[in-house]
Symmetry: C2
């Protein structure tokens, strides 16, 4: 999917909602456990119920891998079902992979070719050659971890670094914090600035947690055009209106994820209907914010 | 497996070799493609041929995931086969996972409980709460990425940081570079130092690439006791004798990995015999180095 297509879908659906399919066998409604593939049955009903209100689905691999080969089959069926029934929905393999180039190439093939996701989340620690193999597929995307929504983000992502960039080096934007020769740059900013030289806003997005919404304005100084995947709204405590205020750009530039708040809205037989209501409530809020800021 | 047991196995086998099972369907000998599960058949023969000369096996998940559910079944059969035929061999799930605590817990269950690996490689970018769930299993290990063997290691791992640690803070060792109040500390050193406060040398190892063997002495100033998993010997160009010189401690403290050099030593029907010879050659070199430094 191209950036233009993604923006068109946002305008059409008046939504920038991503539904996280963190489908946990111990949390899905009990009555589904009788079906042949409970996880797929759960996902199928959630997809059908929410696809009109969201523009993206994001299964997190951990919840499938924990079921072994069976979980991998549920995942395959889920992505096939999305690609068949709502091909206009942007799909994210939330995998947080990254390895030496030779090996990242295998992960890229697994997720972007075989499973045919539109995008994959990638961890930046191993640097450029660990990320690049994921960018070799046309109209597919890397979503690089920058500033995550968990407490551990403080350990390394917010560590102050001595920027190796000189004033004016590497085509740094005039309004980038790197331009000022200032110290006090944090690692996540360095990750944003460095990865810009490997990528374009047409193949790179970033994970930026909503629990630090005001930091989105710092992020926007470095990557004004890129889409940001924002987890942490809802269960993790972030505010949707702050995310839009500090993070939205002219093409929206935001995918805001909600997982537990939608998919586990009810644990009874009406779970899909309740999920639809939660997704619709968020879509309505997003519609107002899109009108306000776009 | 405990640290004492691991060291006993090293002394018994006179080896600190880890064989990387990066088993690629496009690279294994052609004649195996006729069997029902070619990847498992390949692994089985490699395991049988090399188990007397190595102390560890390390399948890299990317090579299995690229085959989908079928690949996951090959992986399950491989780890079961190792645990049944050579339970004294230390097993590493080379997965480089890491996510918010809630999700890391699912990955930990998948690899350390369901598949029953002894250890898993973990990426540090998301910090403490992303790593801790992997340490909640008795006698199981986290192997945290510190300094990797690829060129991208320069992008972030070697970035100079302003250490947040004060002199004497957090029980920093007298011979730690952090003690001297010096600047010029790099991110990988900060990862080592920070993660020490979450862990012990009985549940934490580190990945340190062999392509920078002299840097092992910098690593040893911070983590003198921890085991180090050292990739990059052989195909990636590192020297085994330099690794031993700079990295070995009183309990050996090293697992040196070789993948391609062993498993693809021959692509004909005698591949297992050739793999055995390569593993034995490395074991003989290691025997000499153990006598010299231990």
């Amino acid at each position: 999917m191209t950036r233009t297509e993604l923006f068109e879908n946002i305008k059409k659906k008046k939504s920038f909602l991503c539904v996280g399919l963190d489908s946990d066998i111990t949390k899905i409604p009990q009555h589904l456990l009788k079906s042949e593939d409970p996880i797929f049955e759960f996902n199928k009903q959630i997809i059908d119920a929410t696809k009109d209100y969201c523009i993206s689905f994001k299964p997190n691999m951990a919840f499938y891998e924990t079921q072994g080969a069976k979980g991998w089959i549920s995942l395959e069926k889920t992505i096939q079902y999305i690609n068949q029934t709502c091909p206009d929905v942007f799909t994210i393999a939330d995998a947080k992979r990254g390895d030496i180039g030779n090996t990242s190439k295998m992960y890229a093939k697994a997720f972007l070719e075989t499973l045919n996701f539109d995008s994959i989340t990638v961890a930046p620690y191993m640097g450029e050659d660990s990320v690049k193999p994921f960018m070799e597929y046309k109209n597919k995307w890397v979503i690089l971890l920058a500033l995550t929504s968990n407490s551990g983000a403080n350990d390394f992502q917010l560590t102050e670094i001595n920027s190796p960039f000189e004033k004016g080096a590497r085509g740094i934007d005039a309004n980038s914090p790197f331009e000022k020769g200032a110290r006090g740059i944090e690692l996540y900013q360095h990750v944003l600035e460095t990865s810009k030289s490997w990528s374009t806003p047409d193949n790179m997005m970033y994970v930026v947690g909503a629990t630090k919404a005001e930091m989105l304005s710092e992020v926007r100084k470095i990557v004004p055009e890129n889409f940001l995947l924002v987890p942490g709204v809802g269960a993790q405590g972030g505010s949707l209106s702050d995310v839009a205020k500090y993070g939205m750009n002219k093409q929206c530039g935001l995918l805001v994820n909600s997982s537990r708040g939608i998919i586990y809205a009810s644990s009874s037989e009406n779970f899909a209907e309740k999920a639809r209501e939660e997704a619709m409530t968020l879509q309505k809020e997003m519609e107002v914010l899109l009108e306000k800021y776009l």
